[in-house]
């Protein structure tokens, strides 16, 4: 059978989600952000919430998330996305409110907002992309950078006596009474992508059910910052990141 007999609309089993806009993403080749954007677009489409979803974009590589996902978006000041999402959700409780933040945004300058939003049990979903580096500004050390990991500001590797220890902020959030669902996922393989999709969908459903704060941490790669190819960085992530940031549900109430 010829290949053109297979490529017909009725045989299509996977297509680009219609909520992704036509603009080309500015992310580096192989960046995990693209996969997570795609998952969010698919989930909002499947839930039929195109008209009632409001995202809060961070400062960082994902600052242009509003250009790529065709739902309402608000751009927050650096680290303040959970505070802004709190206001939106309290004023419009029937909307699906989610934040999309990186580790430099959520775990560094926005630690206070994150912890207090989760502690108040705000009914928002937090998508947290943890790639252990500040990608947008050129690969400096982030609070989540692993010990011994080389970055632009720790050229000989992160030292515990000088720079402190990597911060597992999902574990902190999981201890708070206001959070209902805290999980850590990754998107480097097809199986992991499917699991991450189920986790984000559950977080969105929790938000609509008013169960409390949900947080989905995606352990991801930054191949430009790590100075590796996309494939090598996936492998490096599996070998090194998963030891400090093991995958799985940390809290599921």
């Amino acid at each position: 059978m010829d290949i053109n007999d297979i490529i017909k609309p009725e045989n299509r089993i996977y297509k680009r989600p219609s909520l992704l806009t036509d603009s080309h993403m500015h992310y580096c080749p192989g960046c995990s952000h693209g996969v997570v954007h795609k998952l969010i677009a698919e989930i909002i489409e499947e839930m039929g919430m195109e008209e009632s979803a409001i995202g809060v974009a961070p400062v960082g590589c994902a600052v242009f998330a509003y250009n790529y996902i065709d739902v309402d978006f608000v751009e927050a000041a650096h680290g303040r996305a959970p505070a802004l999402a709190t206001a939106i959700k309290r004023l419009q409780p029937d909307k699906l409110v989610f934040t999309y933040q990186g580790d430099g945004d959520l775990a560094a300058i926005g630690t206070g907002e994150t912890i207090h939003a989760a502690n108040r049990g705000e009914n928002i979903a937090i998508i947290f992309i943890n790639n252990a580096i500040y990608g947008m500004t050129g690969g400096q050390m982030a609070p989540t950078t692993l010990l011994g990991m080389k970055t632009a500001t720790t050229p000989y590797g992160r030292r515990a006596d000088l720079n402190g220890y990597p911060l597992a902020i999902s574990n902190l959030v999981a201890q708070l009474d206001g959070s209902c669902y805290v999980t850590r996922q990754s998107v480097q393989s097809p199986a992991a992508v499917r699991k991450a999709k189920a986790a984000i969908r559950k977080a969105f459903e929790n938000s609509m059910a008013g169960k409390g704060t949900s947080m989905v941490e995606i352990v991801s790669t930054c191949n430009s910052g790590w100075k590796l190819t996309p494939e090598q960085s996936n492998k490096w992530m599996e070998e090194h990141m998963f030891a400090k940031y093991p995958l799985g549900d940390l809290k599921n109430v």
Partner: protein, 76 residues
């Protein structure tokens, strides 16, 4: 016996040649163009051995730029 056949289409201009789909494909269907590049200068992915495709959508799931669409039929 019924056989599953698959095929993918790749939006060449959107592809950034990250090679993740090539690595994720269990049937070794995809490759990056060795010489040809798209308008942005990336060696985009293509089906180098289309007859092997099983339509599992692994490539589409891991594609960060969502440029892969997957088709599948059951061949009697």
């Amino acid at each position: 016996m019924a056989k599953i056949r698959g095929a993918v289409t790749i939006e060449e201009e959107r592809c950034k040649g990250c090679n993740l789909c090539v690595a994720a494909c269990p049937a070794h269907v995809l490759s990056l163009q060795p010489k040809e590049v798209n308008n942005r200068g990336y060696h985009f992915a293509f089906m180098s051995s289309p007859e092997k495709c099983i339509g599992c959508s692994s490539c589409a799931l891991v594609c960060p730029d969502a440029c892969i669409e997957v088709y599948r039929i059951r061949e009697e």
